[in-house]
């Protein structure tokens, strides 16, 4: 009466080994085929991105609450940020997203040198972003806009010419959130640069082929997410009440 299930139980008791998939060295033993492995990896990556969104979500939530509560201070703080550097960085990141797309395409068609080139360019763009960010942080240090004992904020909120003084404590809160969010974002950029640097080396060594380039695709997804987070951070932090 259990015929159906008996068929599934093999007579052999030999333990399976990983050597039955000679055709694709990248295929791990516990997957049935390359397609299953690729699907698993990309689903895993998407889920990881979901956790990243929830992670930043907590900070976006704090941002929203305090922006509503202390709008004037947030506007005054925002007006002290360097909009040109912010815009430059936005452009840099958008371009880097394009090079990531091109890298994935190059991997798909198996152009190794092109792939390595795009990966290197992406890393360079990422580093450019970090350097620009570094200059911005430096400026904040010089202006005593870094939260802490040396924090000093005397600037006012310029509301269409009307100067509104703000509570420095609230402005400090703006800068706390600014540093928390951009710092966490920069950390993700540093990880991204390391990731793409590693991929460039591995690509150069020929680890990837048109049949197996999942890591490049997944790293690309990560890079895009980090970009998108910046696309939100830029207007939320830099462009409060800048309509003049």
């Amino acid at each position: 009466m259990h015929d159906s299930r008996l068929t599934t139980i093999p007579a052999s008791t030999q333990v399976m080994t990983a050597d039955h998939e000679e055709h694709n060295p990248a295929l791990l033993h516990h997957f049935a085929d390359a397609k299953q492995q690729k699907n698993a990896a990309s689903l895993g990556m998407w889920l990881f991105l979901v956790t990243e969104i929830m992670f930043f979500g907590g900070m976006f939530c704090a941002y929203l609450i305090y922006r509503l509560k202390y709008f004037n201070a947030f506007a005054a703080g925002s007006q002290q940020l360097d909009i040109k550097m912010g815009a430059l960085n936005t452009a840099v990141l958008i371009v880097s997203s394009v090079t990531v797309v091109l890298a994935v395409k190059a991997a798909e068609v198996g152009k190794r040198k092109l792939l390595v080139g795009y990966l290197v360019v992406t890393v360079l763009l990422g580093m450019t972003f970090l350097v620009v960010k570094g200059f911005e942080y430096k400026e904040k240090f010089e202006k005593h806009h870094v939260p802490g004992p040396n924090f000093n904020f005397t600037e006012k909120f310029d509301d269409n010419g009307k100067q509104i003084p703000v509570n420095p404590k609230e402005a400090e809160l703006f800068f706390s959130i600014y540093f928390a969010m951009t710092g966490m974002h920069a950390l993700h950029m540093i990880i991204g640069c390391g990731l793409f640097g590693t991929l460039a080396v591995l690509s150069w060594k020929g680890h990837y082929s048109p049949t197996y380039f999942t890591p490049i695709e997944n790293a690309g997804l990560y890079w895009h997410l980090v970009d998108i987070i910046w696309i939100y951070l830029f207007p939320l932090l830099y462009l409060i009440s800048r309509h003049s």
Binding site: H2, S4, H30, A40, G44, T51, G58, M59, S176, A180
Partner: protein, 554 residues
């Protein structure tokens, strides 16, 4: 006996190589990517933390024997309940069922050779251990005294204990659970054996799937919250402390946004275990399979909408409180559905009372009480009086200990023969199940009364009229402790002296019972093809009244 042998004929011989003896030495364990070995690594490490958490629980109960604080100083007592809470929540309850039983069973139950990302699985364990070591270091260096809830501004500005280190530990432990959840979801989606459709998934898998969703959606929020607490503490940024311009309620919102769903991270997998146990020992497909599966998902979803019911008197608005009260009742419905379906499964079954089933009965009873008192707490007019009292303590111990732990112990006994290839001693197991049930009720039922008469929680000393109830509770805790120590002893004993179990000592349905015990390294010698429905107990032979040793040549 004749029908019995029919099922086990094909795997009559225990394979010479199984996951336990396929590789020896410390390295083969510490660098393993085999989900079953990782499950055992968790079993050992989680048990150690459970023991530690239990020691702190005993310290608390001993201190509360007398109204005046005489055994511990006030600070030591505060640290004791904080370490007890943090260890039990972050290092025991959250990983216990998913990381031990889930890790072991998810691939086996769906017919996969391993989890989708075996190396990430190992990484999860290392993260857990790293977190554990950091936490132990923090504990040895004085510990933390904020309560496991880390409420700001106490945690950020006022306590002088090492919050940052404890925070780092919780943060890392959080990522361990995120990766476990991610691994489970991908595995369930992508690694199912041919024919293992969604409506054939065991309910344990559904429960773990729902749990994993909460893990990946909720845990990052507690992670960032803890980062913000640490940053506020280190650099005095005013995010939560009102003296620095922050809002302490924001902390509570963010904290409970994770920590309420975390309650379902703990209880859902145990509910999954109970579904398996009741099906097996009633020899029946669970009544309303679909509804039990959907209720797991419903609990996961609704669980995210009720967090502010921890904050009814914290200073949220009247209307917010009413909305969250209403939503909290909605999460009661899927929980009730599960209890009713389990009960209905017994109807016209063929029931035996092996130890796992005793734990299942215990679970139903204690979870019913825990759930109903939860409804009382959701009733805002009552919550004002009983929140932050022992009523709440009793309620969540009924759910966490009466629920999670009963489910875990039931599951551990049920799958012990699969994990080790040996049966546990039935008599001792029944005795300890009895100890657990009696001891548990004696410990925590008096606390409901204590709470309603007004004893606040986290009290080092208390008015003398509360003493009798506290003594009862401490007496119960001692019985409970015996109930927990016994399995630690006889399960270890059974590793060497337990009867050989054979592949399917319970004649249970489910793919995990179709491979050898202990299973070979890649679980199945050939990928199984599923052609039958889940819980096809009508096709399986009866269970003997007492499980007997299966005669298998070694």
């Amino acid at each position: 006996m004749a029908t019995r042998t029919a099922t086990i004929v094909p795997v009559k011989q225990t394979p010479k190589l199984n996951y336990l003896n396929n590789g020896h030495g410390l390295k083969s364990w510490l660098l393993t990517t085999d989900h079953k070995r990782i499950a055992l690594l968790y079993l050992v490490s989680v048990s150690i933390f459970f023991f530690l958490g239990g020691v702190f629980a005993m310290l608390i109960r001993l201190e509360l024997l007398t109204p005046q604080g005489d055994l511990l100083s006030a600070d030591s007592y505060n640290k004791a309940f904080t370490q007890h809470g943090m260890i039990m929540v972050f290092f025991f309850l959250i990983p216990v069922v998913p990381a031990i039983l889930g890790n072991f069973l998810v691939p086996l139950m769906i017919g996969a050779k391993d989890l989708a990302f075996p190396r990430i699985n190992l990484l999860s364990w290392y993260l857990y251990i790293t977190a554990g070591i950091i936490f132990l270091h923090c504990m040895i260096n004085g510990g933390v005294d904020t309560g496991w809830t880390f409420y700001s501004p106490f945690s950020t500005e006022y306590t002088n204990t090492n919050i940052v280190e404890a925070g780092v530990a919780v943060f890392i432990a959080g990522f361990s659970s995120i990766f476990t959840g991610l691994n489970f979801i991908v595995t369930v989606h992508r690694m199912r054996a041919p024919g293992m459709t969604w409506d054939r998934l065991p309910l344990f898998i559904w429960a773990n799937y729902a749990t994993s969703l909460i893990m990946i959606l909720g845990t990052p929020v507690i992670a960032i919250t803890i980062v913000l607490v640490a940053v506020e503490r280190l650099f005095h940024l005013g995010i939560f402390d009102p003296h620095l311009g922050g809002d302490p309620l924001l902390f509570q919102h963010l904290f409970w946004f994770y920590s309420h769903p975390a309650v379902y991270i703990m209880i859902l997998p145990s509910m999954g275990v109970i579904s398996e146990l009741i099906a097996c020992f009633s020899r029946k497909r669970p009544f309303g399979y679909t509804f039990v599966a959907i209720s797991s998902m419903a609990i996961a979803v609704f669980g995210f909408l009720v967090w502010a019911h921890h904050m009814f008197v914290a200073g949220i608005s009247l209307y917010a409180a009413m909305i969250f009260s209403f939503l909290s009742f909605s999460v009661g419905v899927p929980s009730a559905v599960k209890v009713f379906n389990w009960t209905a499964t017994l109807y016209k079954g063929s029931i035996t009372y092996a130890t796992p089933m005793l734990y299942a009965f215990g679970f139903i009873g204690l979870f019913t009480i825990g759930g109903l008192t939860g409804l009382m707490l959701a009733t805002i007019g009552i919550d004002v009086h009983v929140t932050d009292t022992y009523f709440v303590v009793a309620h969540f111990h009924y759910v966490m200990v009466g629920g999670v732990l009963m489910g875990y112990l039931g599951g551990l006994h049920f799958w012990w023969p699969k994990i080790t290839g040996r049966m546990y001693p039935e008599g001792w197991a029944k005795l300890s199940a009895l100890f657990v049930f009696v001891g548990f009720n004696l410990t925590f039922f008096p606390q409901f009364i204590l709470g309603y008469v007004g004893m606040p929680r986290r009290y080092w000393q208390y008015p003398p009229e509360f003493q009798v109830l506290n003594v009862l509770s401490t007496a119960g805790a001692s019985v409970l402790a015996v109930g927990y120590l016994l399995p630690m002893i006889y399960l270890l004993w059974s590793l060497r002296y337990g009867p050989i179990a054979g592949p399917n000592p319970w004649n249970a349905a489910g793919l995990e019972w179709q491979t050898a015990s202990p299973p070979p390294t890649f679980n199945f010698d050939e990928t199984p093809v599923v052609t039958w429905e889940a819980y096809n107990y009508d096709e399986l032979p009866e269970l003997p009244v007492e499980p007997v040793e299966v005669p298998v040549a070694r």
